[in-house]
Amino acid sequence: MSGRADRIVFAGVSKFYGEVLGVNRIDLEIGPGITSLVGPNGSGKSTLMNLMAGLLAPDEGRIEVLGLGADRPEELGRLLGYCTQFDSYPRGITGWDFVYLYLRLHGLGRAEAAERARAAIERVGLTAAAPRRIAAYSKGMKQRIKLAQAIAHAPRVLVLDEPLNGLDPLARAEALDLFRAEAAAGKHVILSSHVLHEVDELSDRVVLVHGGYVVAEGAIEGVRDEMAAERPLQVLVRCPEPGRLAARLFAEDHVVEAQIDPDRRGVRIRTENAERFYLLLNRLAAEGAVEVEQVLPADDDVQSVYRYLIGGQAQGAS
């Protein structure tokens, strides 16, 4: 596992919430630097993040964080700092107590915990507000105190779910500086966002997530938002029983074409509505009607975004 000691690895990871698909068949490796998960609402960003933080256990597949398996969640806590998407804190707690008291769970003495809490709170610019109750904070301040809590124990991996939400331009610039500084220090910084151009310049790598699948990933150099829902889409779905999938898909009015791939290991699909297609595919996968191995962009449009994202060398799709 030595080569994986500095990577976060997803191998064939699926997660279902009962019948609802969270993410499906994720193969992903994340190295140091800034990686952004980008996708529309409900695409599976938070699910991926909860999985890597050990808050969720995968139904299938394996996850390793810097060589650490899921069997030692308590070790993960030292390694990883997490900032959730939603604002939730123990009710009535002050900013200071929120950072300091949870830091004490790391087994730190009072003095060291206080020093670290002070430093983290100062870093997000909340020193003056720290004695006040979080309930009275603005949205942006809440984001920042969460960030302070996530970085206070100096983790090597930072998982930040939509950390830029609710930040004013100044706070946003400061947050971006903080992410860059952490990445420059060799840390893994993983962010999520539902707008590509919000994170494109910042990120070393972007992972496009849609409908529970990773549809594209790679380095990014510019801005482009190609995640509109109601657009035509061509994809290649790799599956062991392409005939069954094709027959099932053909019954849908938004599917214009469903052609079995020449190698008989997938179906090439053209649909007029990407959103509806992904929803359908998820439902079929969740019901167990079809087994989906991989979804690849085969569309001129997506293809161009994809090429764009990985810097000119399209991969995977034909």
């Binding site: 919430y17 808050l55 969640p73 993960l76 959730t84 939730s88 009710r91 008291l101 949870y102 769970l105």
Partner: protein, 279 residues
């Protein structure tokens, strides 16, 4: 980090101590805890009323032995079966369910803490809070029951007479009840989204206990607690007499039950997932 690794009894003890501080601030020293405090003080209020009203209404002080007998009933039928039972229900289930309702569970699960330590920390926090609360309540109850003017030579009975031994036993039983019911409700809260229903069933079981065949009576917390009480309580004509379990068995019995429940809960805690993000 200053500390390395996540193992070792000393390290776990430090984490449990840190949890105590955290729970004190976020769970116990809050307005939300007031209802439980009020419930715990209910018998105190009643006894205080008596202490005030009895002399005014011209009643004569009652003999200490008679007061002790009546208090034995208050302790067993009211304090132990209702106040401590429901108080522990409130405290120990909130320690778990509160984390999901306030969406703060992930902060614990993200800390470098073994799930077993997390469970132990929750249990210890509950023990400290419930133990302190019910001990204070009990102390006030005893003082008020034997207050001079209401009880003949009450203080003598309580501090120098047989009352001292009784009081000691009551404190012991109360703490043992907190251990037993605490473990029970902590485990329930880990297994049920709404622990109210199983708790109601348990309450029923503990209440009809004295009507059950003696063998089944022993399958309860209350039987063991009652076995340890210093004064017998008249439980009505339908009660089936069951020999009290001797203290040498009753105390380890409750402790063993608690350990078993905590072990079950710890196994469950290892599989805890945070899914409140979606609901």
């Amino acid at each position: 980090m200053g500390a390395t690794g996540t193992g070792g009894a000393a390290f776990w003890a430090t984490q449990v101590r840190a949890m105590l501080g955290l729970e004190l601030k976020k769970t116990f020293l809050r307005a939300r805890a007031l209802p439980v405090v009020l419930v715990a003080l209910l018998p105190v209020t009643l006894l205080a009323l008596r202490a005030v009203v009895h002399p005014i209404s011209g009643g004569d002080p009652a003999p200490a032995a008679e007061v002790a007998r009546v208090y034995g009933h208050i302790f067993q039928l009211f304090f132990l079966r209702l106040v401590v039972f429901f108080g522990c229900f409130g405290i120990f289930t909130y320690l778990v369910r509160g984390e999901t309702s306030e969406r703060s569970l992930h902060f614990y699960l993200l800390s470098p803490m073994r799930r077993e330590v997390f469970l132990a920390g929750k249990f210890v926090a509950g023990l400290v809070a419930a133990g302190a609360l019910f001990s204070v309540s009990l102390a006030l109850q005893l003082l008020l029951a034997f207050v001079p003017g209401v009880t003949t030579n009450g203080t003598g009975y309580l501090f120098a007479g047989p009352g001292a031994g009784h009081a000691l036993a009551y404190f012991g039983v109360t703490l043992l009840a907190v251990v037993g019911y605490g473990a029970l409700f902590l485990a329930l809260a880990f297994f049920f989204r709404n622990p109210m229903i199983p708790a109601a069933i348990l309450l029923g079981w503990e209440w009809i206990n004295f009507l059950l065949p003696p063998v089944l009576q022993k399958v309860s917390v209350i039987h063991h607690l009652q076995s340890l009480c210093p004064l017998p309580v008249d439980r009505g004509p339908f009660a089936l007499p069951a020999a009290p379990t001797p203290p040498a068995l009753a105390v380890p019995g409750v402790l063993l039950l608690a350990a078993l429940l905590l072990w079950t809960a710890a196994r469950r805690a290892r599989k805890l997932e945070v899914t409140y993000a979606g609901d």
